[in-house]
């Protein structure tokens, strides 16, 4: 698919601006009505999903030339997909797909931004999205008695992801995950030094080839290992393995689970028993790529029915975010004795992004922090002591923002709280 293939989706945009907000029927508090960080921060309609539809058409029509200003709009977007889901509350059209295609077109036409070029060069050279990474990829697992799936057979492979492997602060989440899986008697292995980036974030940045290369490489390693289930604690990796690899026909029959899905399952099966009290009041942040964008890919091949507007044969089913991963992380939290879970106004399909996605943390850290700050304020307004998430990307951005702007709010991963209780 290319941008041109989404022409009729983009043409369908009626500029109703629903993509900027939580749909009215789902709105809880007017102060938290925006769902798109980009329009909330930059105000001009072009920054919203609907504006991007117009921009896509204008690019196809060659009404707009590539320049710094155009790229500023293109890259000041977290690719969080909130616009897509709000739009689909009413409409049957793709929004995030064409937004992604706009980026792919920019990259294919040679118009990239330096901050992302650095990240992508690192991916091409070292298989990681973290340029200048100091630690070695498998170092986090030092001292853990965990199988190396490049040499030993294991049913489950745990993929830590770049954001964990190269951020020492996140190692404890990966360690806790392996410890919990071991406690539940799971035969788990890791690829250690041989683990490579999932390619998902590169795709969000417009680098489709890089995603495909990484996908092929990763699937080859997994196939060789004989593992049947891949578990990851990173929302971006989860979405890449589960949704994007499937989209491009590269997933085969690998079962992809987020750690919270797997842990919730193990708790239900009685293989993990959280018994220790963790007395705290927390709120849960749905990572975009685990929640609305974690919904399985729906394969569809068809054509518009001639003479009709936007009627397809066979009928097209749209991904509306309904089947994202929302309950498992909440189930895990609810299983922790003494823990009180309170909800923010914008949750599940309509969650506000942490701010780090779509390369924004790299290209415009100020915007990434601004977006996180909004979420931190929302979390604080619930009276929670901590914001809990299920993605190292979100966790990092919240922590960086709190460090810079201050807040008494603590930041945890779901896994950490479960480990404390088990």
């Amino acid at each position: 698919m290319a941008l041109e293939d989404y022409r009729s989706d983009m043409e369908m945009c009626c500029r109703c601006s629903i993509c900027k907000f939580v749909p009215l029927e789902k709105l809880k508090e007017i102060q938290h009505s925006y769902v798109c960080p980009s329009i909330a921060r930059y105000n001009f309609h072009t920054y919203a999903g609907g504006g991007r539809m117009g921009m896509g058409i204008a690019m196809l029509e060659k009404e707009l030339e590539y320049d710094g200003k155009l790229l500023e709009v293109v890259y000041n977007c977290q690719m969080c997909g909130a616009c897509d889901i709000s739009c689909k509350y009413a409409m049957d059209m793709e929004v995030l797909e064409p937004i992604n295609e706009i980026r792919i077109k920019c990259v294919e036409d040679g118009h990239t931004v330096p901050a992302l070029d650095g990240v992508i060069n690192s991916l091409r050279k070292q298989g990681t999205m973290v340029p200048g990474a100091k630690a070695r990829r498998g170092e986090w697992a030092k001292g853990l008695d965990v199988k190396d799936i490049t040499r030993q057979k294991a049913k489950v492979i745990y993929h830590a992801g770049c954001r964990v492997c190269y951020d020492e602060d996140m190692w404890r989440v990966a360690k806790a995950t392996v410890t919990l899986l071991h406690k539940a008697g799971i035969d788990v292995g890791i690829a250690g030094e041989n683990e490579s980036c999932c390619g998902g974030r590169a795709y969000q940045m417009g680098y489709k080839e890089e995603l495909l290369n990484q996908a092929k490489q990763n699937m080859e390693l997994i196939k060789k290992s004989g593992a049947e289930i891949l578990v990851t604690g990173c929302a971006d990796c989860y979405c890449a393995f589960k949704v994007l690899y499937d989209k491009f026909g590269l997933k085969d029959d690998l079962e992809v689970l987020h750690t919270t899905e797997y842990l919730a399952r193990l708790i239900k099966e009685g293989k993990l028993k959280p018994t220790k009290k963790v007395e705290t009041k927390v709120t849960y942040h749905d990572p975009c790529h685990l929640g609305r964008l974690g919904e399985p890919y729906i394969h569809w091949e068809g054509k518009p029915v001639p003479g009709h507007i936007r009627i397809f044969g066979p009928p097209k089913e749209f991904r509306r975010g309904t089947y994202g991963i929302y309950e498992p992380p909440r189930d895990v939290l609810k299983s922790v004795p003494g823990l009180e879970l309170v909800e923010m106004d914008r949750i599940k399909e309509y969650a506000w992004c942490c701010g780090a996605g779509g390369g924004v943390k790299e290209t415009n850290p100020e915007f990434a922090r601004w977006t996180a700050r909004e979420r931190i304020d929302e979390a604080e307004s619930t009276g929670a002591e901590a914001i809990v998430t299920a993605c190292p990307g979100c966790e990092r951005n919240f922590k960086d923002t709190i460090k810079e702007n201050g807040s008494s709010l603590k930041v945890y991963d779901v896994v950490e709280l479960l480990e404390k209780a088990t």
Partner: protein
């Protein structure tokens, strides 16, 4: 605009509102150059997003001094090309001025800034004044409350109260000179309950499409929210039957809202609620067994008994006055007044284009006009898609034929344009006046009015906007 003039203008605008609220980025400007209709696109030179009255005053003074066109903009959803800046210049996007300044629970009005949307006021009232409500159009929740009143919209309390400009109870307006004027009781007191007993100066601004000044505050009436509601629908087998049913219901004075739609349009919209698809192209014709027209009366009551009695009274009136008329129903359904029927958007914009000839006119000519308008749709092989809303207890009616179309299909675009041109001639002939009047219809209307009307309009425009900066090229355009 000459580049040097533009850069000086932009520099000054940046000084007024800050550079992050001024854009000359083509990607930003492009969006403001077109709308849903086939109206000719035209780019603004610069877009500005002010937040305060002071900023707005400075912008207008600058534009007036430099004679730069200014087009006020909220959501651009008027379906008439009204925010396409015909002469370029500044697009004044007012969405940041979005404060609900006051809600008076006792006097039942809300005082709002230009950027306040239907969605916003609904959410605000639901939360903070749950016993009060505003009235809404079928347009998206991003529609401006103020813009809807400026373009004299038709909303879900229009059967009771008429067009949206009728429930405006006060204005604050910024003139080209930079003066700020209050109109109505708010001019002389703290309260904004009514325009009367002053001379009704609101008429200098309402209905003018932003061509005479920028409205900075508007007071609009609110109403008590009845606890019980339902919708009663009748399906007439032909338009004569539909007319008889409408007349019967009108004379009861009971509904809050009374609308009618061609059966085909109704069928497509109903399916859309279930995310199911039925296209209006190629033209869908009803079968002999199917009705021609669906009439829906929204009815409310403070108690269940009151609601039941009202429903019964409406049914009784139709039974009595429509003997021998073939119809299906009545059926009761849940009321839609509480929600925006957003799913219908998918039908109305599925090809990216939406056009209509919308009008207000007399009930006495309703039957003949609608018959001829629908026959014109048949002539162009386009699904009958009439939509009517009875206004002000039947003193006039809104009538339009909704035409979603595929912007990518030049043959269809031409067919739609030709149909609209014929429908416009038809409605004018029948005494229906095009509303939210697109510029091509303004010019047609001007051919019909007397020369003194034209002189007065132009004199008013010239008096209020001597340099012709406000949304130029539309109402009150000076002779070229």
């Amino acid at each position: 605009m000459i580049e040097a003039v533009k850069s000086a203008l932009v520099a000054n605008l940046e000084k007024i509102v800050g550079s992050e609220f001024v854009s000359t980025n083509p990607a930003d400007l492009y969006i403001y150059s077109y709308d849903l209709t086939p109206a000719e696109p035209n780019w603004p030179d610069v877009v500005v997003l002010p937040q305060s009255i002071e900023e707005l005053q400075a912008i207008i003074s600058l534009a007036n001094k430099e004679k730069v066109p200014v087009t006020p903009y909220i959501a651009g959803g008027n379906v008439g090309g009204l925010t396409i800046p015909l002469k370029g210049g500044i697009t004044l996007d007012l969405k940041r001025m979005n404060r609900i300044i006051e809600v008076s629970e006792t006097d039942m009005y809300a005082l709002v800034e230009p950027g306040v949307t239907f969605g916003q006021i609904k959410a605000y009232l639901d939360k903070h004044h749950p016993t009060l409500m505003y009235t809404y159009a079928f347009s998206p929740p991003s529609t401006g409350v103020m813009a809807n009143a400026i373009v004299q919209g038709l909303d879900n309390l229009s059967f009771r109260y008429g067009a949206a400009s009728h429930w405006v109870s006060g204005l604050e307006v910024l003139l080209a000179t930079g003066e700020l004027v209050r109109i109505g009781s708010g001019a002389a007191s703290k309260s904004w309950q009514a325009i009367v007993p002053f001379p009704e100066l609101d008429g200098l601004f309402l209905g003018w499409q932003g061509t005479t000044g920028v409205i900075t505050k508007m007071a609009v009436s609110l109403w008590p929210k009845p606890k019980h509601s339902t919708a009663l629908s009748f399906m007439a087998m032909d338009l004569d039957g539909a007319y008889a049913i409408l007349q019967a219901v009108i004379r009861t004075r009971i509904p809050d809202d009374l609308i009618g739609t061609s059966f085909a349009l109704n069928k497509v919209s109903q399916l859309a609620y279930e995310h199911k698809k039925m296209s209006m192209y190629p033209a869908v014709y009803r079968t002999q067994e199917e009705p021609e027209f669906v009439i829906t009366a929204e009815i409310t009551g403070n108690t269940e008994n009151e609601l039941k009695a009202k429903v019964e009274a409406v049914k009784e009136a139709v039974r009595e006055k429509c003997k021998g008329i073939k119809m299906m129903g009545p059926d009761t359904m849940p009321s839609t007044t509480a929600a925006f029927p957003m799913q219908a958007l998918g039908v109305l914009s599925s090809g990216g284009g939406l056009m209509w000839v919308g009008s207000y006119g007399p009930m006495s000519a309703w039957l003949e006009t609608i018959k001829k308008g629908c026959e014109l749709q048949d002539k162009y092989d386009i699904t009958r898609s009439c939509y009517t809303r009875i206004m002000n207890e039947g003193h006039f009616a809104g009538l339009r034929w909704m035409l979603p179309y595929d912007k990518e299909d030049p043959e269809l675009v031409k067919r739609i344009n030709d149909l609209c041109a014929e429908q416009l001639d038809l409605i004018l002939e029948m005494g229906y006046m095009p509303y939210k009047t697109p510029v091509w219809a303004v010019r047609k209307l001007e051919e019909r009015v007397g020369p003194d009307w034209l002189k007065l309009h132009r004199r008013v425009k010239e008096m209020l906007d001597p340099n012709n900066i406000f949304n130029p090229g539309r109402w009150g355009m000076p002779r070229e």
